[in-house]
């Protein structure tokens, strides 16, 4: 036993580092969430330094729960995360099935498909909102203008022209408004994370029991029923993992929102915390604690699944 003491001690630096990293900032957040703490206040300058004498109890939590912004941010966070999950999982499944067979150039197809995942989020957002989705200069605007151009041309034809002159001019959608910019964020994150889902599902499909499938074919099972009864159960765990890992990542979504919709009202929890942080630290901290609770609920499920597969 003594021989094992030293090797075991080798994990202590990592444990201590992570412990400090977790406890110190989180402890401060917890502390700040119970006191009155603002960065600028002419009326109450004593609130600008953190101190126990500014104790507010659950006042910050109450304030946050009564703030319209908070509920909007929660709702919007869930809307964004839910939409991304739905699309990435369905699309990811379809694409994984599509690529999981042999055909010419399969290696290149895989490389092309996975590439978006490695693009840094900041570039992803800047690229999409400007060059693709911009209603005037982006491909979005250019495509709509092109369609209008064609319709205008068709109006000059006899007979048919009368029909086309009834058509309105198309207006490109602007993705900079509150609601539409949430769609823009969903679109760009989906583009980035569908490859991740595809990759995971593909890895898992390769371990599917082929002989079971062949037996099903011999029994005359249709492709759809094979997919529903064999493939989907086989993919249950990967799907759960993709859902939970993405939930955790996307609840923390920040760069995309900051770039696409700074100040236009489209916000999620991390963004709201950022806004509060410019002055009301108490409220920012209380919101932060809510975000931690939300993430922990999800993490619990994920950890349970990971834990099951850990020691075998």
């Amino acid at each position: 036993m003594a021989k094992r003491t030293l090797p075991r001690l080798l994990q202590t630096p990592a444990v201590i580092l992570l412990l400090v990293w977790m406890l110190v900032p989180l402890g401060l957040t917890l502390y700040f969430s119970f006191i009155r703490y603002v960065l600028n206040s002419l009326r109450r300058p004593e609130w600008t330094t953190p101190s126990f004498s500014n104790w507010r109890g659950f006042g910050n939590y109450e304030y946050v729960l009564n703030a319209k912004d908070f509920w909007f941010a929660v709702q919007n966070s869930l809307f964004i995360v839910g939409s991304i999950l739905l699309v990435t999982v369905v699309l990811g499944l379809a694409l994984a099935m599509l690529v999981n067979r042999t055909f010419p150039g399969r290696g290149i197809v895989r490389v092309l498909l996975i590439s978006p995942f490695f693009v840094m989020p900041a570039v992803n957002a800047v690229l999409w909102i400007n060059m693709i989705l911009d209603p005037v200069l982006g491909l979005n605007g250019i495509a709509v203008e092109g369609i209008n151009e064609i319709v205008r041309g068709l109006r000059d034809f006899p007979v048919l022209g009368a029909f086309f002159s009834l058509w309105p001019e198309f207006e490109p959608v602007s993705f900079r408004a509150t609601q539409t910019s949430a769609y823009a964020v969903i679109m760009m994150v989906t583009w980035q994370w569908t490859p991740f889902a595809v990759l995971i599902f593909m890895t898992s499909l390769q371990s599917e029991d082929e002989s079971q499938k062949e037996a099903a074919i011999l029994d005359g099972a249709s492709a759809w029923s094979r997919f529903v009864n064999l493939t989907i159960p086989h993919l249950a765990r990967p799907i759960a993992i993709v859902v939970m890992i993405q939930s955790i990542f996307h609840l923390a979504l920040y760069a995309e929102i900051e770039i696409v919709s700074r100040g236009n009202g489209n916000k999620n929890l991390p963004y709201l915390i950022g806004e509060f942080t410019s002055n009301n630290i108490g409220a920012a901290s209380a919101t932060g604690i809510f975000a931690v609770i939300l993430a922990n609920i999800l993490a619990l499920f994920l950890l349970r699944i990971v834990g099951k597969s850990l020691m075998d």
Partner: protein, 278 residues
């Protein structure tokens, strides 16, 4: 047993065509960014030059002048490299201890490490700013960025290394012990040569995550230690006038990493699912 081939003649052509089409659609935004980077800023916003234009390298040539690209790129290289290095220096001994000398608590420790990764960064934004600005005086330094990048990736690094180390037969390490090899010797002479590939892909993945990180690198820096994420974030709204040069700097920022990523697809699955998908 021979595989039963059910694919019809139509399917033999349709499936690959569909797969290729989807792949090209997914790759298109990246292609478009690279493509636009060879246009002048004026050409980039003219519909008549959408596909036909005189390619130019001036956007790349002027990258330093327009964006001070290299300053940010060097910061990215420095912070991502050192963060990866430190994560390995701390992570390898830890993963070694847990893989070859597990105790009752090993599983709990691993799970707990993973849970630190799930804390929303935004929740501790102000405390981090407060501590590093007012107390430690390390706000906007390379040291801080390296430290934070190392810490946020440490759980993934340890997990990945752990799954690689678990694949090494215990007997090999045990045999070393019988021969009276020290712990340090065990790691240096037996473990590292055996797990070299796994450690390399762990490092590669960690480097990619560090490079792409866009929360702390944006919020904890101003100028000194600002990375490429910060540079791009700062140019979020070019008002359409600079699509050419913006594409060039974006291409330069993501190009090397996307190529690196191609080489570690398989490891990505392991690193992001913590060995739960095989």
């Amino acid at each position: 047993m021979a595989t039963i081939d059910q694919t019809s003649k139509f399917g033999k052509i349709a499936w690959p065509v569909l797969a290729w089409t989807v792949a090209l659609i997914f790759f298109f935004p990246i292609f478009w960014m690279v493509f636009t980077s060879f246009k002048t800023d004026a050409d980039a916003v003219k519909p008549e030059h959408l596909f036909f234009f005189t390619p130019t390298l001036e956007n790349y040539a002027n990258m330093t002048e327009n964006y001070d690209y290299w300053r940010f790129a060097i910061n990215s290289v420095i912070t991502a490299s050192f963060a990866t290095l430190f994560a390995l220096v701390v992570g390898v001994p830890a993963a070694y201890a847990m893989a070859f000398n597990p105790s009752r608590h090993t599983k709990d420790i691993l799970m707990w490490m993973l849970s630190t990764k799930m804390l929303p960064a935004a929740a501790v934004l102000y405390p981090m700013t407060f501590l590093t600005k007012n107390f430690l005086n390390i706000f906007d330094t390379h040291f801080l960025v390296i430290l934070v990048l190392c810490l946020i990736n440490l759980p993934i690094v340890i997990w990945m290394l752990f799954t690689y180390f678990k694949e090494i037969p215990k007997e090999i390490i045990e045999a070393g012990k019988m021969d009276g090899v020290s712990t340090w010797g065990e790691i240096k002479d037996i473990l590292v040569p055996l797990a070299w590939g796994g450690m390399a892909s762990t490092a590669l993945l960690c480097f990619i995550f560090c490079w792409n990180e866009a929360y702390w690198t944006v919020r904890l820096t101003t100028t000194e230690a600002a990375t490429l994420s910060k540079l791009i974030e700062g140019n979020r709204a070019p008002e359409g006038l600079f699509f050419g040069r913006l594409s060039a700097v974006s291409t330069a920022a993501v190009g090397p990493i996307v190529v690196l990523g191609w080489f570690c697809q398989k490891q990505l699955v392991r690193g992001l699912t913590f060995g739960a998908v095989k």
